[in-house]
């Protein structure tokens, strides 16, 4: 039986299989089911500071609408002891998940204001999270903001959070950086212990009836694996940080591929939502079978063995399609 353990963010995981942020990780029952199925770690749904701010202001707005103006109705909603409009419920989830699970619990945070990132990161650490994943993405829509400025802000923020907490810190990135490899390097210099590649987002859609914009999220498919696969392969060995693949990790083959490219953790969200926690049992068994069949001793042995640095054809990571096309039309080049 090969050793399936993997180190990720300094945490020792029983396998490289990690549940990425999704509704499944937001509920204690499904978290327990994931653990029962053998998940090695869980990333809780993101705490969105903006959402919390919005909820808080929305609650405030609803309670104050029409309040104090009409003698018969000084307000329109019952007074409650708690509207749970702050981060408390999330922090309770962190603490409850920590109590309920034996596997590492990684919290996820999307901040909105510089102070907000730090405050929330500290509260999450206090709540007992084993690690924190920063969900950095924002749509850089303002033409006045050059990429250098935005990257500098992100780096500053990572450094500030790093300085403010002690638990391991991962940064979940979007693929939309011109100089991604460089930026990844800078993030590790700023204190990121790991990089999670890549974030997926709500994308706008248009309603042809109403001519309104209606953003929604579409679940990933295996085809999307290629993008993280490439960048994990490229970054493996180039940055001093753990690497996790997310987006498109659906099958055992997908898991093997990202591990070969250099991932320390293979994260699932869409696949788990579609197939349930039982998927983990299948993935783990298939992973073990594959390793065993090829006489690998451990996952650690496998990790990064086909990264750009280790691959037979490193350039393939950079120019895959073009290269493949060329090769298909020419005879193999003797080495």
């Amino acid at each position: 039986m090969p050793d399936l353990r993997s180190r990720y963010l300094g945490l020792s995981l029983r396998t490289p299989l990690v549940a990425s942020s999704s509704p499944l990780t937001g509920d204690l029952d499904s978290l327990r089911r994931l653990e029962d199925a053998g998940i090695a770690a869980v990333v809780l749904p993101s705490l969105f500071e903006e959402e919390i701010t919005h909820a808080s202001l929305a609650v405030h707005g609803a309670l104050e609408a029409g309040a104090g103006t009409f003698a018969e109705a000084l307000d329109y909603h019952p007074e409650r002891a708690d509207y749970a409009a702050g981060p408390d419920r999330y922090l309770e989830l962190v603490a409850a998940a920590k109590r309920a699970l034996g596997v590492p619990v990684i919290a996820s945070l999307n901040g909105d204001t510089p102070g907000g990132w730090l405050d929330h990161a500290r509260w999450i650490e206090e709540a007992g999270a084993d690690a924190l994943e920063l969900n950095l993405y924002q749509v850089a829509a303002d033409p006045a903001h050059p990429s250098a400025l935005l990257e500098a802000r992100d780096l500053e923020l990572v450094a500030a959070v790093r300085a403010g907490i002690r638990i391991p810190l991962a940064v979940k990135l979007s693929p939309y950086f011109t100089g991604l490899a460089h930026f990844a390097l800078r993030l590790t210099e700023a204190g990121a212990d790991g990089l999670v590649l890549f974030n997926r987002f709500y994308q706008p859609d248009l309603d042809l009836e109403t001519l309104e914009v209606a953003p929604h999220l579409v679940l990933s498919s295996s085809e999307e694996l290629r993008l993280p696969l490439r960048w994990i392969g490229i970054l493996r060995g180039r940055v001093k940080a753990s690497l996790a693949a997310t987006s498109g990790v659906h099958s055992a083959e997908d898991v093997l591929k990202v591990l070969l490219a250099g991932a320390d953790a293979a994260m699932q969200a869409s696949a788990l939502l579609q197939r349930g926690p039982g998927l983990i049992i299948e993935l783990e068994a298939a992973l073990a079978r594959w390793l065993e069949a090829r006489e690998y001793e451990s996952v650690e042995q496998l990790k990064g063995s086909v990264s750009q640095r280790s691959a037979e054809d490193p350039e393939a990571f950079e120019r895959a399609n073009y290269r493949k096309t060329l090769r298909s039309w020419s005879s193999p080049t003797p080495r």
Binding site: V59, G68, A71, E72, A73, P78
Partner: protein, 1194 residues
């Protein structure tokens, strides 16, 4: 511990701790007591004995009283909270409860009973109506007393077995915030007798020791048995006195059954009870200090009446006594307290030979009419006369019966302290800030503080005035501030609407929220304000609170900007301490709403003082701008003489003669109240408009108007007036104009939300777009004036069966004070457009009766011919029967008119008589023709000497078809009026019922009704309603001959229109249940109609009609909406009433929403099956329009 709370909370805090069963029903001003109790129980707060009281809402106060009766009979400690009409509904049970010596307590925020008009305000007419029930009646006259006496009432009822009615004055005490020393649990435990509780339990109904109650007794024993309870009543005063003494021993606050203050050798004495004692005590003490021999008797216990104690409290030296009653009992020898006092003094004279003073009876303070020390002095002055009037009133000018006493408003007797007035507009947080200020001063300093709040009758653009006093001595002033040391105006625009500085004391500080900096503000003040500032030598300070609030992300909530500025000017606390206290109060108030709210409010505080500027005043007033008159010149006489005075805040000065004796008011007065409250108004782009009329259909205020007219009519149009060709084959060559009423629009944005016409080039641009009112109001005013002059359609010109045709008709419901974006009013407007000139409306009490009938103005209007909806409100619970009575009268009069006309046919000529009698008037043109015939008939009748002709002349109008619509909210239809509504629907008669279904009691602040859906959070269902909404439509359709429609205008306006027309046309009973979005749903009201659409899309509110028919193969049940395509959860997530629970109690919300989804699925499945069923009306005769005489005589 000292805290600042209002009278309702003061009473509820004790009642909740001493009860096990709390049966409630909302009614102003007592609702907050029930709301507190419900909220405390839902958060698990226990009573004195460690159990959480069961707080349960009933369908009416009658139901609550019965539930209490049952609970107390079975040994529970039971209580309720009520007022006014609610107390009246409890009366039958109260006789039973007292007759059976059942201990329980009713806490009553005493309020006027509706007579010539409804009033939500305070007086004793309700409690006085309960004085014969056998309940003991204990009267608290202040917030502290409401707290203390609540305990005494609960303790005394258990000891005496006599149920207690503990009351205090509605609003003046129930809503006043004052410093209260709180009773600890130990205090409660010390006064409540555990043995008495055990005895109460031992008497309970139980099969373990069976007894029987509620016997029927015969003449042989009833009388004796009735007398058997007497010793229990006799014991009450002693028990109350003992409890007062024990309370004093524990807490130091001393009360007697009757308390006297004033000169020991007083010659003139006033007797009263309730909050007026505060003003009376101030006046008496001041006069005594000036050497006058006057005194005041404050009565605490009214039942059993402590006659001997009262007589003993009045000094023997008293020559003249005035007994003041806060109620009117027409026809009585005197009002109740007067009569009791006279009897007590007479008996005291008989018993002990004490001299009998001359006793006068006076009325004061009805419906919270101000009662001031000056009025008290007026009474003392009257008593000083040789022969004081035997009966009088004080506080009004009675130029009809000449009962009123004069008083000198200049007499003031307030204790030294600071008085501040805060003027706010809408939900800008002014009232909240004033309450917080009272709490900070009252709880953080040794000073005493008091807050009282005066609200508007409007629900949009409402003006609030907060009266705040603080000073070193306890504050007894139970009246509004007459002279303020500080005036804060939180909205600049108010300066143009009301006289903000009228009550500013000379030299007062004036804090103004101004968009203009100190250097410019003076030039922007209206001339009247400039003059007041200079004449009174006011110190003017400005702060641009809106800017600060905007910058910190608080939108229009300026409270935490204004509050620090007030403290800076008031100087009541050192600056840093004040800021720290404000910060602490923000943390306390807002922490549970999340850190963002706290953070932003704190930021507002931090930036407030740097924005505060003192204004250097010029020497002279220079402004050209003058405050406009309250109504435009040329308004009708009544409007100018009466309405305008009320609008200007001078209603108190109107004499009795100015007001109708019978409560009858003219309609169509809202159009004279130009409030101009919108910040943004919609502007029309004719190039994009598709003539659909949806904007006018959805506009809650009839402020978006649509007219279709011949081009010639617009020849003299102003240059800016817009029009476009009207697209219609039915009426070619006409123009269409969509016009905003710029001074009447509330800026809610609903019209823009519903507008389906988008620009092809820029999707966000519609045929209506909001624009800053300040830039467009003047121009649109001119256009609207011209628009009003355009001709209306001729009868029959456009059949109203299409939305755009219906909207081209004149609305006869316009410019109501309903909330901006109100979901109810579009239905009423539509009703007025379709049937307005022949419409009678019976309106249940609730939102629609308030925005429909609360003075000063009414939105119900008449057309150019003088015809329009005739509207009346009777009560809350009786509306179906009330409207039914209207229908019966109409039918009788029509039948009588037809009978007379048939008899007079030879005199008026057969062709005319026949045409009138055979008319079926199914459309507008036919109605117009019938009207012309009836007018001709009237002309002829006028020439006949026959007495039958004179009789017919009086009722000939009823030969033209009329329609009766019974209108009310869900609280009425589903709950309190349910039985009556059922009876009326069962009658088969031709009445139409419109339920404006907001799914909560909207007018009283969002309490749950049986219309409240599962999973929604509402008051009285603070943990989310656990049961589904009652399907009132389906119940009604079970009759088979009732036309029923469930509609939602925002989802399908054509279906709504169709339902209204079908309901009116159906000659039997009709019920239209109209989904009405409401501020209590916690939604963005600009998207009100979109929420209705989603409610339907999710199957939460399916649209359907049940159209009875005689054909046995008809499918009367018609589903008008498509199968649900949106999960209920997604609909619910956008409404705070559901979303609040989703956040705070996700597990409970999950469970309830899963059930709500199941409800929707099952409902759809069931409805789908109903839609396939055949059913016919077996007996169409029941639905005949005019059963009886006409048919018989023919």
């Amino acid at each position: 511990m000292r805290t600042c709370i209002d009278g309702n909370e003061a009473a509820a805090r004790v009642a909740h701790r001493l009860s096990e069963v709390v049966a409630i029903y909302p009614i102003t001003p007592a609702s907050p007591m029930g709301e507190h109790a419900d909220a405390w129980s839902s958060e698990g707060r226990a009573n004195l004995w460690g159990t959480v009281p069961e707080v349960i809402a009933l369908q009416s106060e009658a139901g609550a009283a019965a539930a209490l009766h049952g609970a107390a009979q079975c040994g529970a400690l039971a209580t309720s909270f009520t007022a006014s009409q609610g107390l009246l509904l409890m009366l039958p049970n109260m006789f039973k409860i007292a007759g059976e010596l059942t201990p329980l307590v009713l806490h009553v925020a005493a309020r006027a009973i509706a007579t010539h008009a409804l009033s939500i305000f305070g007086d004793h007419s309700d409690v006085m109506a309960a004085r014969t029930t056998g309940f003991a009646m204990l009267c608290a006259s202040s917030v502290q007393e409401a707290h203390d006496f609540a305990l005494v009432a609960h303790a005394a009822t258990l000891r005496s077995r006599i149920p207690f009615l503990h009351f205090f004055d509605g609003f003046r005490t129930s809503h006043e915030i004052a410093c209260v020393d709180l009773l600890e649990d130990a205090d409660l435990a010390a006064l409540v007798d555990e043995d008495a509780i055990r005895a109460h339990r031992a008497r309970r109904l139980t099969p373990d020791a069976p007894t029987l109650r509620g016997t029927a007794q015969n003449p042989d024993v009833f009388f004796q048995a009735r007398e058997a309870c007497q010793p229990y009543h006799d014991a009450v005063p002693g028990i109350v006195e003992d409890l007062f003494a024990r309370l004093a021993a524990r807490c130091g606050r001393r009360y007697g059954l009757v308390d006297y203050v004033g000169a020991p050798d007083a010659e003139r004495v006033i007797v009263l009870m309730g909050s007026g004692a505060g003003a009376a005590e101030e006046a008496a003490l001041k006069l005594v200090a000036e050497g006058e021999r006057v005194g005041l008797v404050k009565l605490r216990l009214f039942r059993p009446f402590p006659g001997a104690a009262l007589a003993a409290a009045i000094p023997a030296s008293a020559r003249a006594v005035a007994v003041l009653d806060r109620t009117k009992e027409p026809g009585a020898a005197g009002e109740p307290l007067y009569e009791e006092t006279v009897a007590a003094l007479y008996e005291a004279q008989l018993a002990g030979g004490r001299p009998l003073p001359r006793v006068s009876g006076g009325r004061y303070g009805l419906a919270s009419k101000e009662f001031t020390p000056a009025m008290v002095k007026g009474v003392f002055d009257e008593l000083a006369r040789e022969a004081p009037r035997r009966r009088f009133s004080v506080g009004i000018v009675d130029d009809v019966s000449h009962t009123s006493l004069p008083w000198d408003p200049g007499f003031q007797a307030e204790a030294p302290g600071v008085c501040a007035l805060f003027f706010g507009l809408g939900s800008d947080g002014t009232v909240g800030a004033a309450k917080s200020t009272v709490q900070i001063i009252g709880e953080e300093t040794p000073l005493h503080a008091q807050g009282y709040f005066v609200y508007d009758s409007k629900k949009s653009g409402a003006i609030t005035v907060s009266h705040v006093r603080f000073g070193p001595a306890p504050i007894r002033s139970s009246y509004q501030i007459a002279e303020a040391d500080i005036v804060a105006c939180h909205r600049f625009a108010l300066l143009e609407r009301i006289d903000v500085l009228e009550r500013a004391a000379p030299g007062a500080r004036f804090l103004l929220n101004s968009p203009w900096p100190a250097s410019e503000v003076f030039d922007h003040l209206p001339r009247e304000v400039q003059e007041q500032v200079l004449d009174k030598r006011l110190e003017l300070f400005v702060v641009d609170a809106d800017r600060v609030a905007r910058e910190v992300g608080m939108g229009g909530r300026i409270n935490t900007v204004m509050q620090p500025c007030f403290f800076a000017l008031a100087g009541v606390l050192p600056a840093e301490q004040a800021l720290a206290a404000i910060r602490a109060s923000i943390e306390k108030a807002y922490a549970k709403r999340g850190p963002a709210v706290v953070k932003r409010n704190l930021a507002a505080v931090d930036r407030s003082l740097e924005a505060l500027e003192a204004v250097k005043l010029p020497a002279r007033a220079t402004s050209e701008l003058r405050r406009p008159p309250p109504v435009p010149p040329g308004a009708p006489d009544f409007v100018t003489r009466v309405t305008a005075q009320i609008l200007a805040g001078r209603g108190d000065r109107l004499p009795v003669s100015a007001l109708p004796a019978d409560g009858v008011f003219p309609t169509g007065t809202a159009r004279y109240e130009k409030r101009a409250i919108a910040h943004e108004i919609p502007l029309w782009d004719p190039a994009l408009c598709i003539d659909c009329g949806k904007c006018a259909m959805a506009c809650p205020h009839a402020a978006i108007r649509m007219k279709v007219y011949p081009p010639a009519a617009a020849e003299a149009a102003p240059e800016d007036f817009l029009s476009k060709p009207f697209r219609s084959r039915d009426l070619p060559d006409h123009l269409l104009t969509i016009q905003v009423a710029p001074d009447d629009c509330t800026g809610c944005g609903v019209c823009v939300d519903v507008c389906p016409a988008r620009s092809k080039e820029e999707a966000k641009r519609k045929a209506l777009n909001m624009a800053p009112a300040v830039d467009h109001r003047e121009r649109e005013r001119g256009c609207f004036d011209f628009f009003l002059g355009l001709p209306e359609l001729e009868p029959g010109q456009l059949d109203p069966s299409q939305v755009k045709y219906a909207q081209a008709r004149e609305p006869l419901f316009e410019f109501s004070g309903a909330c901006a974006g109100c979901g109810e009013t579009p239905y009423l407007k539509l009703l007025s457009q379709l049937f307005g000139d022949r419409l009678l409306v019976a309106n249940a009490t609730g939102c629609s009766s308030i925005y429909g009938g609360n003075l000063p103005t009414t939105p119900w209007a008449a057309n150019a011919a003088g015809r329009g909806p005739a509207w009346a409100n009777s009560l809350f619970e009786d509306n179906a029967e009330f409207g039914f009575g209207m229908r019966l009268a109409l039918e009788r009069q029509t039948a009588e008119a037809r009978r007379l006309l048939a008899e007079l046919t030879p005199e008026v000529g057969e062709p005319l008589a026949r045409a009138i009698l055979e008319d079926t008037a199914s459309d507008d043109a036919a109605l117009a023709t019938q009207r012309e015939r009836v007018a001709e008939l009237a002309r002829q009748l006028g020439t006949l000497g026959d007495p039958r002709a004179r009789r017919l002349l009086g009722i000939a109008g009823d030969l033209v078809r009329k329609t009766v619509w019974i209108v009310g909210g869900d609280g009425w239809a589903y709950d309190i009026g349910s039985a009556g509504l059922d009876h009326v629907l069962a009658s088969g008669r031709n009445v139409n019922v419109l339920v404006l279904d907001t799914q909560v009691y909207s007018n009283t602040g969002g309490q749950a009704s049986k219309a409240t859906p599962r999973g929604a959070v509402a008051k009285f269902a603070a943990g989310g309603k656990s049961t589904p909404r009652k399907d009132i439509g389906l119940i009604a359709s079970a009759y088979g001959n009732v036309y029923v429609a469930q509609v939602a205008l925002g989802a399908n306006d054509a279906q709504t229109l169709k339902a209204f027309l079908e309901a009116d046309a159906w000659p039997g009973p009709s019920l239209v249940i109209a989904y009405s979005t409401c501020i209590a749903h916690g939604i963005d009201m600009a998207r009100s109609m979109s929420h209705q659409r989603d409610a339907v899309r999710s199957g939460f509110w399916p649209l359907w009609r049940y159209h009875p028919a005689a054909d046995p193969h008809q499918h009367p049940f018609q589903l008008d909406s498509r199968a649900p395509s949106l999960p209920v959860r997604e609909f619910a997530a956008l409404e705070a009433r559901f979303a609040m629970l989703m956040r705070s109690e996700p597990e409970a919300a999950e469970r309830l929403l899963a059930l709500a989804q199941a409800d929707a699925d099952e409902r759809w499945r069931y409805y789908s099956q109903l839609a396939g069923l055949e059913r016919s009306v077996t007996d169409l005769r029941a639905a005949e329009p005019l059963p009886g005489p006409t048919a018989r005589e023919e």
